[in-house]
């Protein structure tokens, strides 16, 4: 099914506030097998200059993937999620997420393209504090595979 290309360039209102939890960071770090002390021990994180435990580099996707539902679940976009695979992922960090951060996500569709029966959508998600301090920007490129592929 073709995607509605008028979605390209659109920005959505900020998502509801997400409170980054210390136990959520620890749970995520355990799930990826990351044992660095700054992910688990607030004292070790403070020694590096952070107020609480620090999130591993790919942790923001746990927040942005759910924020992206604002875009991908809109029936008007026409995305068939059963045919979607993850094409590319990019992060640009101002700083790591830290337990206690209260953040909102702002989604923008950067690009929608099609090639060889496949559709590609790049969603840019800016993760910032409620006060507007930028923390990390994530770009997720999703591929809707063509029929019969």
């Amino acid at each position: 099914m073709p995607l509605d290309q008028t979605f390209a360039g659109r920005t959505w209102p900020p998502t509801d506030t997400y409170l980054v939890g210390r136990e959520k960071i620890r749970e995520f770090a355990r799930a990826i097998g990351a044992t660095e002390a700054e992910y688990h021990d607030p004292e070790a994180a403070r020694a590096l200059g952070y107020p609480d435990v620090v999130a591993p580099p790919t942790f923001p996707v746990t927040i942005t993937m759910s924020a992206n539902r604002q875009v991908v679940n809109d029936p008007a976009l026409g995305l068939d999620y059963t045919r979607v695979v993850h094409g590319e992922q990019r992060f640009a960090y101002t700083r790591p997420l830290v337990a206690g951060d209260e953040v909102v996500c702002v989604n923008t569709v950067d690009e929608i393209t099609t090639r060889g029966g496949h559709w590609f959508i790049t969603i840019r998600t800016e993760v910032r504090t409620e006060a507007g301090e930028p923390i990390v920007t994530a770009w997720s490129k999703l591929v809707q595979r063509g029929e019969g592929s």
Binding site: A34, P57, T58, V61, V85, H86, E88, Q89, Y93
Partner: protein, 131 residues
């Protein structure tokens, strides 16, 4: 940044995928149901792309050491990582070479990840520098 960028090997089992699904909130059944995975034309249950990226992130932070942090991180998922339902599962091997040192003193690493000898990422890179 470590001078010797020794390749790093990570074992991945079905249990790891189940745990990652819970921790990340990504419950797509292609990462835990053989029936659904083969039904959509995959060779079997595959790892979450973001789980593979997380393993690459572990390698990068290990090479970087505690004094440095990841400033940019990019991967293209070029091939799935099939995870058989065995005790051994599969292995992902991550390698890096220094691509450039920027004017700010940050290091750009070119990264590869392979599974069964196949490259599962392309154009992967990370920019690492002082916190």
């Amino acid at each position: 940044m470590s001078d010797a960028l020794q390749p790093q090997t990570f074992r991945v089992t079905r249990a790891d995928l189940v745990r990652y699904a819970g921790a990340s909130g990504d419950f797509n059944p292609i990462h835990w149901s053989e029936r659904v995975a083969t039904g959509v034309g995959l060779p079997g249950v595959i790892a979450h792309g973001m789980f593979t990226m997380a393993l690459v992130g572990r390698a990068v932070t290990a090479w970087a050491g505690t004094g440095d942090t990841v400033k940019e991180f990019f991967v293209r998922f070029s091939r799935p990582v099939p995870v058989p339902d065995t005790d051994e599962g599969t292995e992902v091997v991550v390698t890096a070479t220094v691509k450039e040192v920027t004017e700010d003193g940050d290091t750009r690493l070119a990264l590869t990840a392979t599974c069964n000898g196949d490259k599962v990422l392309s154009l992967a890179q990370a920019l690492v520098g002082k916190r």
